[in-house]
Symmetry: C2
Subunit: 404 residues, 2 copies
């Protein structure tokens, strides 16, 4: 019998460790592999031969792993380039050295592309090596799936902070605006999800053009009509020329993505300088949204775990290669209840495409989202896992494997 | 029988409505007053005669009130000036018009000063009118009390976000710093509380001078030794000349307090410009910390509620006037367990003094806090209230009284 490898890549989420725990637990329930190795820091550490034996983690530690946010194996922004044979050969060498024939890669768009590239290359150059993708991304921007694990928990925290800070904002009489910023470079799913509770007056997404004059007119209108204006913006909002509204659009990460930040501050400054109100409050969810283990969605935890189980189980078929497991919403669910169903799809079908927030779910003039969009979000944020807390009043977590 | 009035002032907290619920419930258990009126928007709305009858709120609504963040009556930053007879007469007129003889004022430093000023003035000018203070403030800066309701829940969320974002930060290999900012203009209690879980490398408080060169040397040292540097700063940190490190120290609120923001961004920029690391992440807790009804401390909820009960019960004594109820820690508690005891103190003894974070609890060179300080914080953040959630996955809340 051979071994398998599992690694995490891209931005961490609140439930990415659920998926890891799922793969490990599935192998304890049915040992398809002698050992389950964790590759530290995604492809980057794996290429350097940094593996951690996860095979026999006790149940209690798997439970703590499940309530630990961030990527317990560590992550990376390293991209294996198509056609870069050196990296490919190096990976196969590491796999051979540890008798590994199957690699599970938990990640977003870029990772699914890596799964596709590796499996295509291995078919010709390293027969018997398999690569299987399991999605995660708070951006929720993968094609073909209904949603991505990690997004529902981020949306749940975003919603909770939106509702709580709206109540805080409403306690005052003084004229000011509130501007909340969420992650979301190209897709506005997370920002849009903040509208679920009805607390948002104006919403700006990467999918809509930020027209300064039109926007300011809407702010003025809300202030005139209600004396308040609570605004949510996605970090990646742009004007008609495609320029980022945020100030800090200068730097770039390893994938040539612009590193953003400051869209809310820019919008607040714009409003204050226009003279509509003398002051504003900025709340940037920043990293808190994606690492909110104290506000996980139970639906999300469950699905992320089950996707880990499912990927491992599918891999019993030796031809299961270059594939991704994903979640779909059961059509016509009985009693009108939400139900997730799992399916598989070739990685190439979703690699490198970005699913933006649907135009038909966006109300005109920055007025938020449609009821249909709310119906999409609502089932995803249901339920709260029962957490164990440590002596410092925070959910108990494990020490990450990459730091051991 | 006469009526009583209760109002909320200053910055909202996650549990200020627990205290309001306590006053209302106490009067349902023992109706010392015919009616319990809520004054909308603190002194500001009360002076304008905006009262809301809270006497008979059903138990289920009191329960929802308890899990609603922010000030359900609305708040204000309006300060009654000592010697401003016009406002004082106006308030007495409003009280007379509604047959009110007792006013409960839930607030921070400034509100306790208002309680003192009003009770002194009334002793000569409006005999029979009484003013009673109940503390709240996330700043935790009131004298004589062990801690202030609202602070423990803010500390609990700050701690949870610190621990979660530290794990997120640790997942990466790239060299960068993380800078988290908390509220805290003159006192660093909230920032200091982030050190409870051991995740903070460097801490800068308003109580310590921000010495740029010394600080940058410590950042360099942490990066050299561990490859990481997770920093927490309080919004009000200042250099040796007393200048705020934050960029936005220009504007002032109604109390001549500087309106701050941006200390973390300023510190991050300083570090990146010094060349120690090429990038950094900024997380500003902003309003989220004080309105975190999804992460309340059960100890905090209980004490805030019981302070409301206690203030009402003390008011059965007609001589109870110009007084504040507060929480102390029981000395030599049995079994070494934390226990809160309630006491009363004249408002003048704590009005307008600020209790800063003790110098003897601060480690030198921005290295955090002592074990004694952690022993102080730890019992305050224990326990999680059982919350009911609405259909959108957020804790169910009431519609604020000031918006009805």
């Amino acid at each position: 019998m051979s071994n398998c490898l599992v690694a995490q890549s891209g931005g961490p989420t609140a439930v990415i460790n659920d998926t890891l725990a799922g793969v490990i637990r599935a192998n304890q329930l049915n040992p398809l592999y002698d050992k389950v190795y964790g590759g530290l820091h995604g492809i980057e550490g794996t290429l350097a031969g940094k593996l951690y034996d996860l095979t026999s983690l006790p149940y209690w530690e798997l439970q703590l792993l499940r309530q630990s946010p961030s990527s317990a194996l560590g992550t990376c922004r390293y991209k294996m380039k198509r056609g870069d044979d050196a990296d490919y050969h190096r990976l196969i060498d590491v796999m051979d050295a540890h008798d590994i024939d199957t690699m599970f890669y938990i990640g977003g768009n870029d990772s699914m592309d890596t799964v596709d590239a590796l499996s295509s290359w291995a078919a010709e150059n390293a027969p018997g090596k398999r690569f299987i993708g399991i999605p995660k991304t708070v951006d929720n921007d993968l094609m073909l799936v209904d949603h991505c694990p990690g997004f529902p928990s981020a949306a749940k925290l975003a919603n909770q902070i939106t509702h709580a800070t709206r109540l805080d904002y409403d306690a005052y009489t003084r004229p000011e605006v509130f501007v909340l910023e969420t992650m979301g470079r190209d897709a506005g799913w997370l920002a849009a999800s903040c509208c679920l509770t009805g607390d948002v007056d104006l919403l700006v997404l990467p999918e809509t053009v930020f027209d300064k004059d039109k926007f300011l007119a809407e702010v003025q209108k809300k202030m005139d009509e209600t004396g308040a204006c609570y605004i949510v913006v996605s970090e990646g909002i742009r004007d008609a020329e495609g320029n980022y509204v945020s100030a800090g659009a200068a730097s770039h990460d390893g994938f040539s993505h612009a590193v953003l930040g400051g869209a809310a501050m820019a919008v607040k400054t714009l409003i204050v300088e226009s003279g509509i109100v003398p002051r504003g409050v900025v709340q940037d969810l920043s990293r808190a949204a994606r690492s909110s283990n104290f506000a996980q969605s139970l639906v999300d935890c469950t699905e992320a775990y089950e996707l880990g189980l499912s990927a491992h189980m599918h891999s019993a078929d030796p031809n299961f290669n270059g594939m991704v497991v994903g979640v779909k919403r059961a059509p016509n669910a009985e009693y009108d209840k939400y139900d997730a169903v799992y399916f598989t799809v070739p990685a190439k079908d979703l690699a490198n495409y970005v699913r933006t927030f649907p135009q038909e779910w966006i109300l005109p003039d920055y007025q938020g989202i449609t009821e249909e969009a709310k119906d999409y979000f609502r089932p995803l944020v249901q339920g709260e896992p029962l957490l164990s807390y440590d002596k410092n009043g925070v959910p108990e977590t494990i020490r990450p494997f990459n730091l051991r």
